[in-house]
């Protein structure tokens, strides 16, 4: 479960206070997937970073009792002077996984061939994305965070990403940010609309999409 208890989050921009979450309380239950919608600048990505623990609220509490992924496709955990193999080992250690199994999976999935033993700085942006995505899929999580990116690479690789992700979806929850309402409808049963610092929760994701469309008009 991920529980927001009276969470206030704001940024100071040129003496102006921009409130992203205005004393918000919500419980995201295990066994359910949530789609987060909102117009540009509403604070969806901040909401995601708060869930991941990559940012802290100004006040209030956030409790997490699930093993959360980093946002899928996030490559900030990769060190550019280390090889792909060394980066895989590092992340496997962080999450207490057997690095050989993780490496087997990533080598097969990411299709970067001998580049797995080359420093990541020598990779093309597409190869970095494939490695990062492969790592996101290789390590077991109870809840996956998706900030727009659900697939990377060319059309064929994107199909593989979606197929692999669908397998994870059978055993794990999703919290997904997207402007793509059809993707939200496909992967999430519940919806949250973020507007003016408030979270509007909808048990039925279609109701959330309906409100989002009205706000976005």
């Amino acid at each position: 479960m991920i529980k927001f208890d009276n969470v206030l989050k704001f940024y100071r921009i040129h003496r102006h206070r921009k409130v992203v979450l205005n004393h918000v309380s919500i419980s995201l239950q295990p066994g359910a997937s949530y789609g987060v919608l909102g117009v540009n600048g509403a604070g969806k990505s901040t909401f995601m970073r708060l869930i991941a623990g990559a940012e802290l609220p100004n006040s209030g509490r956030i409790q997490r009792t699930v093993r959360l992924s980093w946002p899928i496709g996030f490559s900030g955990g990769l060190h550019h002077t280390l090889t792909g193999r060394e980066n895989v080992k590092f992340l496997a250690r962080v999450y207490g996984e057997d690095h050989r199994h993780i490496l087997d999976f990533v080598e097969d999935f990411a299709e970067i061939g001998p580049y797995i033993d080359a420093p990541v700085r020598t990779y093309s942006s597409g190869m970095v994305a494939r490695l990062a995505f492969g790592l996101s899929m290789a390590i077991r999580f109870e809840c996956y965070l998706i900030d727009e990116v659900l697939a990377v690479g060319d059309a064929r690789f994107q199909t593989r990403c979606r197929a692999e992700f669908n397998k994870r979806k059978q055993h794990a929850d999703i919290i997904m940010i997207s402007h793509d309402t059809s993707a939200i409808r496909q992967y999430c049963e519940h919806g949250i609309v973020l507007a003016d610092g408030n979270l509007h929760y909808f048990h039925d994701v279609d109701d959330a999409i309906e409100l989002y469309k009205r706000i976005n008009m």
Binding site: A52, E55, L56, W70, V94, F105, D108, E164, R168
Partner: protein, 275 residues
């Protein structure tokens, strides 16, 4: 093949481990420390060795210069021991404190991983520099022996305590530096400038008790002078009397560490954001 690998990874909820928070944190710290060893100066063995070789070369260079410049020392018969006991505390303080200061800014992207906390990054760097400090001190002692210098202290336990206290001071200053430098870039000038002033006033090249009382009283507040006095008291009988305060040195370190931990806890939100 992919299916085979996936089958071994598994995804079912019940397969996920339920390690205690302490276990998870120790795992994360260990992983970051190993990564730090391989990335600070390059991923080869030579890159890892530089963590020890750099301060060691600095130490040997300074000693060589001072032995050449002043062959007569105010206490004892061996200039290498006199300058060594003065310079070793400085090196064991300066390098770890400086490297720990960069810990957060160099690894901030790791905070994008939900498992990693700011304190994990700083603790990992402290561990690496703690180990490096022991290597520097040990290799330095061996080099002195290799050159025929009798570098064994009269009171080895006291020497070890002095070295441990100095490393503790370095870790405390480094921790404070890490949190302040992550928010205020100008902090680097304060820490490096302060370290140089402490070094010049630490009694590395002179005996503090030989100075006028007013100067001595002012220098007494320099924590590094107590580190040098402490280590030398293990080599020279009666050295440090009237000047050395072990409790002051340990208290200063503890207060600095407490301030650092308080700022780190209170400003964690700001530390996580790139400035």
């Amino acid at each position: 093949m992919l299916q085979h690998a996936f089958a071994r990874i598994g995804t079912a909820r019940h397969l996920l481990d339920r390690d205690s928070p302490l276990m998870i944190q120790s795992r994360v710290i260990q992983a970051i420390a190993l990564r730090d060893l391989r990335t600070r100066f390059g991923r080869t063995f030579a890159g890892t060795a530089i963590i020890v070789i750099w301060p060691l070369c600095h130490l040997l260079l300074l000693i060589s210069i001072w032995i050449l410049a002043r062959n007569v020392v105010p206490i004892g018969t061996d200039p290498a021991v006199f300058f060594g006991t003065g310079l070793l505390p400085y090196i064991l303080y300066f390098y770890p404190a400086r490297m720990i200061m960069f810990a957060l800014t160099q690894n901030r992207t790791l905070l994008g991983l939900p498992a990693v906390k700011t304190s994990d990054i700083i603790i990992a760097r402290c561990i690496v520099d703690l180990i490096a400090s022991f290597w520097v001190a040990s290799i330095f002692l061996l080099i002195l022996f290799a050159f025929g210098v009798n570098a064994l202290p009269h009171r080895p336990a006291e020497a070890m305590m002095a070295i441990l206290a100095t490393i503790y001071f370095a870790l405390a200053v480094g921790w404070l530096g890490a949190v302040l430098y992550a928010m205020i870039k100008a902090w680097i000038a304060v820490q490096i400038g302060g370290s140089i002033i402490m070094y010049v006033c630490a009694g590395v090249f002179f005996i503090p008790t030989a100075l006028p009382e007013k100067v001595r009283n002012a220098l007494w507040f320099n924590p590094l002078i107590h580190s040098v006095e402490w280590l030398r008291s293990a080599y020279y009988d009666g050295y440090g009397e009237g000047m050395l305060s072990k409790s002051y040195f340990l208290w200063v370190s503890t207060v600095i560490l407490f301030i650092a931990l308080t700022i780190e806890r209170g400003m964690r939100g700001r530390l996580m954001i790139q400035h």
